[in-house]
């Protein structure tokens, strides 16, 4: 069992947890992920490692309530435990040769982009961190973000926090203002990563994306997370999750991400009362 040591509700849909998992914490690197299962009837879901403390033996996960499993996870409290927690899985991010970088995070991706920004910042790289939220109330981890970069830009879709627009708007402005990046790292919804890649492709800026595909085992066994990169089939779990964004077939990835949409709805309905009960 893997106890939840700390829980913070970051905004109405996003939750932060520190899980005691010393073996995972010992090996975790930015860019890697874990698989967890809440209980005996639960499904295995992948979550990106949002932080780790090797001495305390803890691993941080930050997740958005999108389906049955993440709603159930959000219903747990400090002192509760997860039945299964395995990792670190996938390849660690490769920061070689990155001296000036734009890290772009959208939606939940901002939380996942945070360890990348922090790692690059700690390595001495100049990091422009661009994050986007729907509105002001959903902004999370602002202090942590500021401390992990040279320049933080917060965008909101409705302009309720000053700057109105998408993260791509801010990235485009920076590029037009003459910023020269060794690489752009984009993490967030598939649509956002695709838009960032379209922008950077013209300018020939190497762009790394983190693919959060549907997975079952997370160790290369099922092939459920396969995607097309540069015309070849790759597994996000063992070949990624980081890939060259200019090579990724995003349209296929978007179709594949909708595979179990109907079942997810059914699962939410089926468990509605249970989830409702837990939330109170």
């Amino acid at each position: 069992m893997f106890p939840i040591l700390k829980k913070r509700v970051l905004n109405p849909t996003v939750t932060y947890m520190e899980i005691l998992a010393p073996r995972v914490a010992k090996k975790a690197q930015p860019g890697q992920f874990i698989m967890l299962r809440i209980d005996e009837n639960g499904e295995r879901i992948p979550l990106t490692i949002a932080g780790y403390d090797r001495e305390e033996g803890t691993v941080t996960i930050i997740f958005q309530k999108v389906g049955y499993t993440t709603y159930s996870l959000d219903g747990l409290e400090e002192g509760d435990s997860l039945l299964d927690f395995v990792g670190p899985l996938g390849r660690a991010s490769d920061f070689d040769g990155m001296r000036k970088v734009a890290v772009v995070g959208g939606g939940l991706g901002v939380a996942i982009a945070y360890p990348q920004a922090k790692a690059l910042h700690d390595l001495g790289a100049e990091v422009d961190f661009i994050v986007g939220f729907r509105n002001k109330d959903l902004i999370i981890l602002e202090e942590e973000f500021s401390a992990a970069c040279s320049d933080l830009t917060i965008m909101t879709d409705d302009g309720s926090n000053g700057r109105k627009g998408f993260v791509t708007t801010a990235l485009q402005e920076k590029l037009e203002a003459g910023a020269e990046y060794d690489a752009v790292i984009a993490i967030g919804p598939l649509m956002m990563m695709k838009a960032v890649c379209e922008l950077t492709r013209e300018k020939k800026i190497p762009t790394i994306v983190s693919m959060n595909s549907v997975m079952v085992d997370g160790t290369g066994m099922c092939g459920c997370c396969r995607l097309t990169v540069g015309g070849e089939t790759k597994f996000a779990c063992v070949d990624g999750p980081d890939f060259d964004g200019h090579q990724v077939d995003f349209d296929e990835a978007m179709a594949r991400s909708r595979m179990y949409f109907d079942e997810e709805q059914l699962s939410m309905e089926k468990h509605a009362c249970q989830l409702g009960g837990k939330k109170q």
Binding site: E43, V86, V216, D217, T219, G223, Y260, L266
Partner: protein
Amino acid sequence: MSNMSPNKNPMPEQAPDVRNKNFSEVALGYSPEMAMDEAKRCLNCKNKPCVSGCPVNVRIPEFVALVAEGKFAEAAAVVKSTNNLPAICGRVCPQENQCERQCVRGKKGEPVAIGRLERFVADYVMEHGEQAAEVSAANGHKVAVVGSGPAGLSCAGDLAKRGYAVTVFEALHTPGGVLVYGIPEFRLPKALVRKEIATVENLGVEILTNTVIGKSITLDELLEEEGFEAVFVASGAGLPNFQKIPGENLLGVYSANEFLTRINLMKAYDFPQHATPIKVGRVAAVIGGGNVAMDAARCAKRMGAETVYIVYRRSDAELPARAEEVHHAKEEGILFRLLTNPTQIIGDEQGRVKAMEVVEMELGEPDASGRRRPVKKPGSEYTLDVDTVIIAIGNSPNPLIKATTPGLECQCWGGIVADEETGKTSREAVYAGGDAVTGAATVILAMGAGKKAAAAIHEYIQNKEK
């Protein structure tokens, strides 16, 4: 007095049109009377040809004689002295190619039903309790086993009996490997697998789940930091092969591994009570002709597919699956499209499978494997309307350990290079066996490899001490 009937006692089974709608076990097992009657067909040959056909050397005539006398617990103890997983082997071993193939009774009529008797005694003691196995006193030596499938459990059990402190590292959340994620409930009930694994744990073996060797810990760390004196790598063949034809990433195309793992390990047949979903449409096509293909086809039928095809590029005679599995599949209404190969999978505008184009094949000259090579019949392409495609054309060894263990020699296709008799690899103190070495094979061959490696590891550690 021997029972001279030329035929085996038939195995009681669920009727085909009943069982193809449920996940309960197909074969129901012998009654004590049937088992005693079948056991009396054994001639107790002096030279025991059957034993030479068994990769784990079960003392067959000895245990069968005890069954004939009604001494079932004693019979089980004889089986268990060399086989750590008899309830499993009795169900999934291809006995027709092993012990039963050597049986003298098989020369005129059917061989003794050794597999069914093994299953019977193992089930009997599981239900009625059994004598505790003999375990040597702890010898103070630690051995690590990577993977808790048949090879790993067999090696771990044998080493524990010799007094070793054995830790088995399992990547998934449940031990058993292919026994739990691959082979379906209706062929091998999971409650039974759990119980049989518990008997291995009772020998003192510790199983650590949720630990991926090569990620959570490397093999070198096991040897250098965690104090293990030897490691047995039995990580299986878990990397699914695809056909590399257009349309393989459409929605509704599964590797057999994914399809079976969702159903068996994650219990998607019980969705939404179990949270893992699966989608099986109206018409499913399974590509391949092995046991895994039969398992996938029979699962698809049970999940409600109206029509299920097996699409295999060679003919009936070359089907690699056990005859019994093919027979069961046909009885359950699976349609065989033999001498047929897919050329592309066709999707609709949402990216979901709507059809598969196939081409007819004919058999040409024998290839390197000795089987006649299938060649396309030009112009014979046609489409099958399907909405689910399951690719069951084999698995390769998972590359995680190879990629993270310097100096571990592997074949070009990914298999670990290991001595056939000892499991010794190119690295000192590292042994390997099972599908990780041979590529996908059978449960019992993997168990045989585990057994040989246990003996070799024992010898290695004893010699090192001198």
